[in-house]
């Protein structure tokens, strides 16, 4: 089997000695602009961005290029890209990741990893077989506050954790209508916002046993596509009795001074710990000036470091972590359909 390492070794310049060739595929996701800007600014990256949908609002310097098709981006280097960043509409993740794996390129894929469990499994398997890294883009994983939570739980600083409330509330994304076109997004807020908290819970507590969800479509009802929920509450129960609820709603008012936020409150037998990765800001009337760590930058650092180290390296959050969160979303959707909690094992 030809692995990415073999291919890189075959290439005239080794990846360690030259800029990494990165293809950022699609400008459909709102995060594409941020990732492109960070990658464009790096001396150690040669960036090509594809914008086949013609969004036209992702800008790069003369160091980088924007092209009109994924093929052009993937063919931009004679030896192919070292890695791709997939920021397409959710339903297109699978084909782009499979193509990247086929070409032996490492992959950073926007969350949610896929719109179905089958797609996510296929993507994880394809990358494993191709010997390429698959990382799922969960920037909040890199927040120092979330690291504090992980460390506190590991040290037993709040005793045994018995309950968690997580919130990931935001505005309905603007200028990207596909977010609530269920054919392209896989669903609404349940799909877009459950996975951030679910991934953090996954990294701290492992997999839940059952998933229950209720949703509605009251917030942003005039803009959300048919069948896309805009409010949701997902309750996870774990084998040791831990109960966790995620509020995944797009409940940040459209005129709020910031996009939304993430909070996690962990209740332990020896106290309560609350973390708020987006709390650091200078405020004022209708003002919100964030000064916290750039989580996208920390995530891209981790990805690029792993790419330089090659396919033998590990990178978290992995494709497997992405898959596990897709399963939680699928169970939540099934719970909404059946009106009852769903055992992950029955999925």
């Amino acid at each position: 089997m030809l692995t990415a390492d073999d291919q890189v070794a075959d290439r005239p310049e080794h990846a360690a000695d030259r800029p990494l060739r990165i293809a950022l595929l699609s400008c459909a996701h709102t995060h594409a602009a941020g990732y492109a800007s960070l990658l464009d600014a790096r001396e150690d990256v040669d960036l090509v961005v594809s914008d086949p949908d013609g969004f036209g609002d992702v800008h790069v310097s003369e160091r980088s290029r924007i092209v009109g098709s994924h093929e052009e981006a993937l063919d931009a280097w004679s030896h192919g890209p070292d890695a791709v960043v997939v920021t397409s509409a959710n339903a297109h993740h699978r084909d782009l990741v499979l193509e990247a794996a086929r070409r032996g390129a490492h992959v950073l894929c926007e969350k949610p990893l896929a719109t179905t469990v089958a797609d996510a499994e296929q993507m994880v398997e394809a990358c494993r077989e191709a010997g390429v890294l698959l990382m799922t883009a969960f920037p909040v994983h890199f927040a120092p506050q979330v690291a504090s939570l992980r460390e506190a739980v590991a040290r037993g600083s709040i005793g045994e954790v018995v309950g968690v409330t997580g919130t990931n509330n935001g505005k309905l994304p603007t200028g990207r209508d596909w977010f609530t076109d269920v054919e392209l997004s896989g669903g609404g807020a349940l799909v877009d916002h459950t996975v951030h908290i679910a991934q953090i819970l996954d990294s701290v507590f492992g997999e839940p046993q059952t998933v229950h969800a209720v949703t509605n479509r009251i917030l942003f009802a005039d803009r959300a596509g048919d069948g896309a929920e805009t409010g949701g509450l997902v309750t996870l129960t774990y084998p040791d009795g831990l109960v966790a609820t995620i509020d995944c709603s797009w409940s940040q008012p459209a005129d709020a001074p910031t996009w939304g936020g993430v909070t996690i409150q962990a209740v332990g037998t020896q106290g309560l710990l609350a973390v708020d990765p987006f709390s650091q800001h200078v405020g004022g009337f209708d003002q919100w000036l964030p000064y916290g760590a750039n989580l996208d930058e920390l995530m891209l650092d981790a990805f690029l470091d792993a790419v330089r180290q090659g396919s033998g390296s590990d990178v978290e959050p992995s494709g497997e972590a992405g898959l596990r969160t897709v399963k939680i979303v699928a169970a939540a959707q099934e719970s909404v359909r059946t009106g009852q909690p769903v055992a992950l094992a029955d999925l």
């Binding site: 005793g159 018995v162 409330t165 229950h212 409010g231 909690p341």
Partner: protein
């Protein structure tokens, strides 16, 4: 000392445990002559609040116009029925009863007797919740969509609270406040899913999560916690609608803050009732509302039917915890 005014209201507190001490100042503020009967602690209560003590319930019922039932929950139905039979109006600490039929019977009895039955859901009188309710009524958040409520405190010290057969546990005794708020703000509940986690001896630490769906489509999350020893009482809400969002956290303070050095010199924590020293006492406002209903016939902020509904939803949550299923209401 001036003589009591003619026709002065006589109020009888039954059961002089923790909650009676929160209620008593409200009756005094309302100008009532305070009477009391209790199996335990009556003398200390009488000394503190100047109440006239009675040796048994019948004697108290003969002496007062209105009773305030502050006994442990299992005894509520018997005492309320007896008070209504004696022709007395009734304020009753929440929950009205541990069984829905018992609660419904009380309301039916009060209606038949033509007497007030006022379930003391005091959170409706906390100014933060009252302000939010008024704002929702005038459309400040549009249609309510996703509501979250949290209530955090230490488990009450009296042992009967730990016994779910007597108190109904954290859902029936503590979270019922937030279940009532969710219903008050977002309308009748159509389904309930609940989970509970208990730790420690006798479940000394308990948390419960409840997800409600409402008739209008809104969904609500209530999170209750009887936390580790020393847990400071705290309550929060977040109310999102299609026209805006309201948020409150009691940890944001009441306009008075102490630095760490100052705090070290004060006792704090381990509370099962909130500190209301920085606001108009919700307990007094609650009693005043009951008195206003008696004196003017105004509609009380909380009706007997509201008390029944809260018990029904709490029982659905307990059934969900027991079965692992979502329960239709």
């Amino acid at each position: 000392m001036t003589a009591p005014p003619v026709g002065r209201l006589c109020a009888g507190i039954i059961g002089t445990g923790g909650i009676s001490r929160a209620h008593a100042p409200g009756w005094i503020d309302a100008g009532a002559e305070l009477h009391a009967f209790s199996l335990e602690g009556a003398e200390a209560f009488a000394e503190q609040f100047g109440a006239i003590l009675h040796d048994d319930l019948d004697e108290l019922l003969a002496a007062v116009d209105v009773v305030d039932v502050c006994t442990p929950t299992p005894s509520h139905p018997g005492i309320v029925h007896q008070a209504l039979d004696a022709g007395r109006d009734v304020v009753c600490e929440k929950p009205l009863a541990l069984r829905a039929q018992d609660a419904r019977d009380l309301v039916e009895h009060a209606e038949r007797a033509g007497r007030l039955l006022f379930p003391a859901h005091v959170v409706r009188f906390f100014p933060q919740y009252a302000a939010a309710k008024q704002a929702i009524e005038r459309g400040a958040i549009g249609t309510p969509a996703v509501l979250r409520f949290e209530r955090t405190g230490a488990m009450p010290r009296q042992p009967w609270f730990a016994d779910e057969s007597r108190s109904g546990g954290i859902v029936m005794d503590q979270m019922i406040h937030d279940l009532d708020q969710a219903i008050w703000m977002a309308g009748p509940v159509t389904s309930v899913f609940a989970q509970q986690n208990r730790r420690g001896e006798d479940g000394s630490l308990r948390t419960a999560h409840v997800a409600l769906t409402h008739e209008g489509g809104a969904i609500s999350h209530c999170r209750g916690l009887w936390g580790a020893p020393g847990t400071v009482f705290r309550y929060t809400f977040s109310l999102a609608g299609d026209g805006g969002r309201l948020e409150y956290d009691s940890a944001s303070g009441d306009g008075v803050s102490w630095d760490e050095v100052a705090i070290a010199g004060r006792s704090s924590g381990g509370d099962y009732l909130p500190d209301v020293s920085g606001m108009a006492s919700p307990y007094a406002l609650e009693i005043r509302d009951a008195v206003a209903t008696l004196e003017t016939g105004s509609a009380p902020r909380v009706s007997g039917a509201d008390g029944v509904t809260a018990v029904e939803v709490a029982l659905a949550a307990l059934e969900s915890i027991a079965t692992g299923r979502r329960i239709a209401c």
